[in-house]
Symmetry: C2
Subunit: 296 residues, 2 copies
Amino acid sequence: MCSPRVMATVQEAMSRRRFLGRVGAAGAAAALGTAPPGAAGSAQEAATPVANPMATPQALASPVATGGFSRVQDLSHVITPAFPVFPGFRSLQVTNQAAVEADGFYANDVAFAEHTGTHMDAPAHFVAGGATAERLPADRLVAPLVVIDIGERAAGDPDAQLTPDDVLAWEARYGPLPAGAFVAMHSGWETRLVEPARYFNADAAGALHFPGVHPDTATLLVGERDIVGLGVDTLSLDFGAATSFDTHLAVLGAGKYGLENVAGLAAVPPSGATIVVGGPKHEGASGGPTRAFALF
Amino acid sequence: MCSPRVMATVQEAMSRRRFLGRVGAAGAAAALGTAPPGAAGSAQEAATPVANPMATPQALASPVATGGFSRVQDLSHVITPAFPVFPGFRSLQVTNQAAVEADGFYANDVAFAEHTGTHMDAPAHFVAGGATAERLPADRLVAPLVVIDIGERAAGDPDAQLTPDDVLAWEARYGPLPAGAFVAMHSGWETRLVEPARYFNADAAGALHFPGVHPDTATLLVGERDIVGLGVDTLSLDFGAATSFDTHLAVLGAGKYGLENVAGLAAVPPSGATIVVGGPKHEGASGGPTRAFALF
C-alpha cells in the first residue's frame, strides 16, 4: 500500500479540489437564487421500513439537500429554570449531586416537562397511537431547511400567522419546497426572550399573543407538499390567541413533528441550509428538549 | 424573475448534476481508500471568538470534512429506566402527566442523572472552571468522524483499550487524522446491552470489565493531534477496570468533550463520515443525554 506520506499528499490535493468544488457549486446556486433543489420521488427511499435503526444507516429523504456546507448555526436556546414554558408545564430543575472540589467530579440531576426549551412535539403528543419522538426514523431528522420570514408583519401584529400565501411567495422566489423539507416560521420573536413576559405576551384577560402557523398553512404543507416537520420561533405551532390546536392536529396528525422555541433563524438563509434535529431518545417521548443545527 | 415552472426545471437539472457529482466524488475517494481529507491550518477559523453563538453562524473547524452525504446513522441509544448508568448515578424516570384520551394531549415529566444513555461529558465534569456542555461552540459539535475498531481484541479481552498503536495503524491506512476530528472507539460492546449485566461485566469482587481508551492514547490525541472530542461504545472513556480517571482527565482537561454509550458505530465507515453531536443545552450542564448522528 501507499506510504502515509504519499497518502497525505493525495489527500491534500483531493481536499483542495473537493473544497473548491463545493464552494463553486454553492456559488452557482446562489447566483441562480435557488435552493439545493428537491428531487421528485426521492422521498420514497425514506419509506423503506428499517428493522433496526441502530444497525442500518438510513437513506436521506432528500439526498440532494446534502451538498457541502461550511457553517453551523445553533438552533437551540440555552434552557434555564426561567425559560418560558407553555402554561401548565413544569420548568427545568437542576439539582447538583457532585462537585469537583468535594467529589472529584461535577454532576447534576435534571428534571423537566418534555415541552421545555427548544423542543420537539412528536406525533404522539396529540395523536393516540402516534409515533413517539424516539421512534421517528433518523432520516426524517436531517432535512432541507426552509425558513419563511414573517418578521415584518409580526413586529406590528403579535397575532400574525404564517399563511399559505407566505409559502407561495417563498416558492415564487426560491422554487418549489424541496421534497422532505423542514419548514420554519421566522417571526423574530426570540428577541423578546430577554423579558419572558414579553415572550408570552398575555393580555389583561390572560390570553397569549404570539405568532404561529395558520391551520390552513399546515394543511397545505402536509397535504400538497412533502415536509418532515414544522418549526416556529415561538412557544407553539398554533399562534398564542388560538383557542384550539388545529395546526398541531394537522401536522402531528399527518405523522410529522413540530419544533417550538427554535433559536437563531435570523442567521440562516431562507433556502439552501440543512437542518439536523437532535430530538430526544427517551422511551415513550411525547417530545423533549432538542438540539438542532442548521448547516449551510 | 423566472416563473416557478422554469425554476423547477432548472432545479431538477441541477439536482441531478449535483447528486451525481457527489456520488462520483465519493466513489473516487472510496477507490483510493481515502477519507475526506483534513486540511492543515483550517482549524484556525474555529479559534475566532464568537460573541453570541445564537446569532452568529460559526465556521466549521474543518470545512473539508463537509462534503456531501446521503446516509444518516443514529448514534444514540433509546434511553429506558433499565439502560445501564455508571454506578452511583440515577436512572431515567418518566412520569406521565397527560394522555390524549383524558386530556387531549400526551405529555410526561422526565428526570435523570446527566450521565445517562448516550451522553456527553463536558470539560466541567472533571475540571473546575471547565466549559459546561451548553457553552461548547456549535462548530465543535460538527466534525470529521474517525472510527477505530478494536472489536476483535475486545471480543477476547474485556479489558481491551484503544492504544496509541491503534491510532497509528488507522493513520497508516486512512491518512493523518483530520484537523478537528472526533475519534470514536468501536469495541462492539453495544451488542451486550440486551443483557445489562453483561454490559457492566462486573467480576466477583465488583470491579467492572469493559473496554475504554488508554490514557496514553488520550494524551496522544489531545497533545499531538487536533481533536474536538472522543467517544466510546461503552460506559466510560476509561476502561471498566480503571481505578482512576486518567483518560477523562486528559481529554476533559484539554477542553475536549467525551461521548459515552455511543450506538451504531458498526454501520459507520472508519473514515469519511461527519458526526453531528446534539449535546445538551441546559444551563450548567456537566454533560447530558445527546442525540448524535453520523452523516456519510
